[in-house]
C-alpha cells in the first residue's frame, strides 16, 4: 500500500485539499494505521503549538516608541533637498559673478607703504594712514553689461531676480512645513 506523502498530510491538516483529494486521503487514512499514526503525531505538534501561551510583557513600550517617533519626525531646515538647492544657487551666483567680472573695470588703488619699525615714526604713519583713509574716496566702478537680445532694464532684471529668490524661499518653506509630521 502506498502511503500518503508529507505534503498531503500537511495539506489535510491545513484543510487545503480539494474535495476529491480530501476524499481520497480520508479513505486511505481509514485503512492505514501507519498514516493515522503519522497524522496523530502531526496533530499533536499542531496542538502543542496552538497551546503555547503568551509571555507577559514586562514594561510599557509606548513611551520609548513615541520618543523615538518624535526624534525621527522633528522638522529640520537642513534637509538634503534644501542643502542641494542652496548649493546650486550659490554656485550659480558665483558663476554669474565670474562672468560679470569681465565687464567690470576696477581702477587701480595705491596702497601706501608702511615705514620701518620706528615707534614715533610708526605712530605718525598710522595717524597719517588713518587721516588718509578718512579722506579716501571710493572710486566709482564703471561697468558695461553685455548687450542682451531683449530690451530689459537693469531695474527689471533686479526685480525679476528678487522675485525669483522670494518664490524659491517660499516654496522651500512650504515644502519643509508640509513634511513635518509633528502636531502641536
Amino acid at each position: 500500500m502506498k502511503h500518503l506523502d508529507d505534503q498531503i498530510l500537511n495539506q489535510y491538516l491545513d484543510q487545503q485539499l480539494s474535495k476529491h483529494a480530501l476524499a481520497s486521503a480520508q479513505a486511505h487514512l481509514d485503512a492505514c494505521h501507519i498514516c493515522r499514526a503519522r497524522l496523530a503525531e502531526m496533530e499533536s505538534l499542531f496542538t502543542a503549538l496552538g497551546a503555547l501561551p503568551d509571555v507577559a510583557l514586562q514594561k510599557n513600550l509606548a513611551p520609548a516608541v513615541m520618543a523615538a517617533l518624535r526624534e525621527k519626525t522633528a522638522p529640520t531646515i537642513w534637509s538634503r533637498t534644501f542643502a542641494a538647492q542652496l548649493g546650486m544657487a550659490l554656485g550659480l551666483a558665483l558663476w554669474a559673478a565670474m562672468q560679470a567680472a569681465a565687464y567690470i573695470q576696477i581702477p587701480q588703488v595705491e596702497i601706501p607703504q608702511l615705514p620701518s619699525l620706528d615707534w614715533e615714526a610708526l605712530l605718525a604713519s598710522f595717524t597719517n594712514l588713518y587721516l588718509t583713509l578718512l579722506s579716501y574716496e571710493i572710486p566709482s566702478i564703471s561697468y558695461q553689461l553685455p548687450a542682451l537680445p531683449l530690451e530689459i532694464s537693469t531695474e527689471q532684471i533686479v526685480t525679476l531676480t528678487v522675485l525669483t529668490f522670494l518664490t524659491w524661499a517660499a516654496g522651500n518653506y512650504l515644502l519643509l512645513r508640509s513634511r513635518s509630521e509633528v502636531r502641536q
Binding site: E41, L45, D54, L57, L61, A62, V65, R183
Partner: protein, 181 residues
Amino acid sequence: MSSPSESELARRVHKGDQAAFAQIVRLHQQTVFNVAYRMLGNQQDAEDAAQDSFIRAYQFFDKFDPDRPLAPWLKRITANLCLNRLKTQKYASSLDDNLPPPKDPHPGPEAQTVNRLREAHLRAEILALPPRYRAVIELRHFQELSYEEIATTIKKPLSTVKSDLFRARKMLAERLRESNL
C-alpha cells in the same frame, strides 16, 4: 465616555495624531512583543524588535486601510522585521533562562512546572529552526495566515512556503519525539 474604536484611532493617526498612535501601541504591544519573542527567544531583543516594529508601522501607516483590523498587519510587520534581523545579523539566539510567567498559569505547582518545561522545550526547538522555517511556523500557526498570505508576507514563491512549512513541522515533530515531550 466610551473609548474610541480601532478604526477611529487609525483615522486619527492618518491625520497625524501621535497620541492616537500611542493608544494603538498600548493596545497591541503585548501581541507584537509575543511575535518577536517567539522568533527571537530573548526578552530584551523582543522588546527592541517590538519597538522597532511600531516605529516602522507608523512610517508606513499611510498605506494601512483604517477599516481593516490592526493586529494582523502589525504582527506581519513584526515577523518580517524579526526575520530580516535573523538573516542579516547571523543571530545567535539566547533563550532566556528564566522565562517570564505565562499569561494563563496552570493550576497546581507540579502541573505548572511540567507545563513550563514543555513550553520552554517547544520554544527552544522553534528557536533551533533556521530563521525562514521559524518565520513560516510563526505566520501559519500563530498568525493563522494561509499559504498564499505567507508567500505575500515574506515575498517567497508559494511552493517554497509549502516546502519550508512542511519541513519545519517535520523537524519539530522529530525533535519533540526524540525528547519524548
